[in-house]
Symmetry: none
Subunit: 207 residues, 2 copies
Amino acid sequence: MLELTDRQTLILAFIRDTLAERGIPPTRAEIMDHFGFASPNAAQAHLRALARRGAIELSAGHSRGIRLSPQVADPDTLPLIGRVAAGAPILAVENIETHHRIAPSLFKPRADYLLRVRGDSMIDAGIRDDDLLAVHATREAANGQVVVARVDDEVTVKRFRRRGSIIELLPANPAYEPIVVDGSGQSLAIEGRAVGIIRRGEFSDRP
Amino acid sequence: MLELTDRQTLILAFIRDTLAERGIPPTRAEIMDHFGFASPNAAQAHLRALARRGAIELSAGHSRGIRLSPQVADPDTLPLIGRVAAGAPILAVENIETHHRIAPSLFKPRADYLLRVRGDSMIDAGIRDDDLLAVHATREAANGQVVVARVDDEVTVKRFRRRGSIIELLPANPAYEPIVVDGSGQSLAIEGRAVGIIRRGEFSDRP
DNA sequence: TCACTAGCTGTATATATTTACACGCAACCG
DNA sequence: CGGTTGCGTGTAAATATATACAGCTAGTGA
């Protein structure tokens, strides 16, 4: 989690309040006035510190160019993960396409991110190409659950089945082959469990 | 509803977009650039017009002092409609089970409510029992679109097809029969179009 | 025809805002 | 001890922004 000093927490709270009450972020001068600073530079230094810690993002040269980082902003958003770069953690910044305003608690257990589904290997489970899969980040999975797994740096969505020391990742589409991992060769990591899906777009005829 | 000219609607959309993308409202100059105006005063005049009509509120003397009026601001919840009482408008209070924190603008066109799907008559279109269907309230539908229709007080989800004066509501499941309405007997009203779905819960094995 | 609104161009200017530079003090870490 | 970070004061200047005034073209309703 973010490590902020008490003072920085107050500054952040003021930004949040200003945003909520006026719809725009404060200027340096407004921060200065509110905290009784004698110099706008005090505010500037705080903003830079907050930006360095990732609590806010500053856009240079623009008035009120302060934006709350998604993690700090609104607990009601989920990051959308597009293509996962090989080797990178799923939630790494470079994988995040955007954030969507959906309450994580809409799903049970809580969703941690949305993953854009590629391909139709899970179509018989009702998961289609381009769907947004709501994923609960966890290492644990029970037989029959749909999981997000990483096999040799490749991230995939499949149904999980363990039999003794052998783990099978089963597609829900007869056109695809199961992935079988027996502990020796390939590396396997469970990244999370599917807890829901979101599909966007009109349902036009698909003949 | 607000009466805005086409131009004003575009300006308002730009403000909304800027807010969504950058977290701050645009300046006059930014509006000017975006629309290709030669004078910031053109933007200023539009803003005043929008304020006069109540679409936005301006705060004098502040940079980016533009805020969307509550009526045009994007709320962030959608009502969930469960069983629709016979004869009642879909959005009537007694039909609303709860509200979910999902941005309506996640869908295009914007969703107005969520409808809990009953039965599997649309399963081949990827819509399953217990799914939450995101619905855009409108009377208009084109052939092939999935609509929420009311036939004799009964609300149903089907694929829309019109042939001359005959309207067919087609299920996406061979086990069900199409509903055919020819203007005489039954009454038919289109309540909205499906613009997305949300499915909650783990995808456990279902053999 | 007149008054009014929508939509602009063009010019200016006051003010709002960001941001750099130069310092000071205290606390903490290796 | 020396270097770093947190937290400020004070000053200045470059830019970013808001906003007024003067005018122009069209369309619309009385």
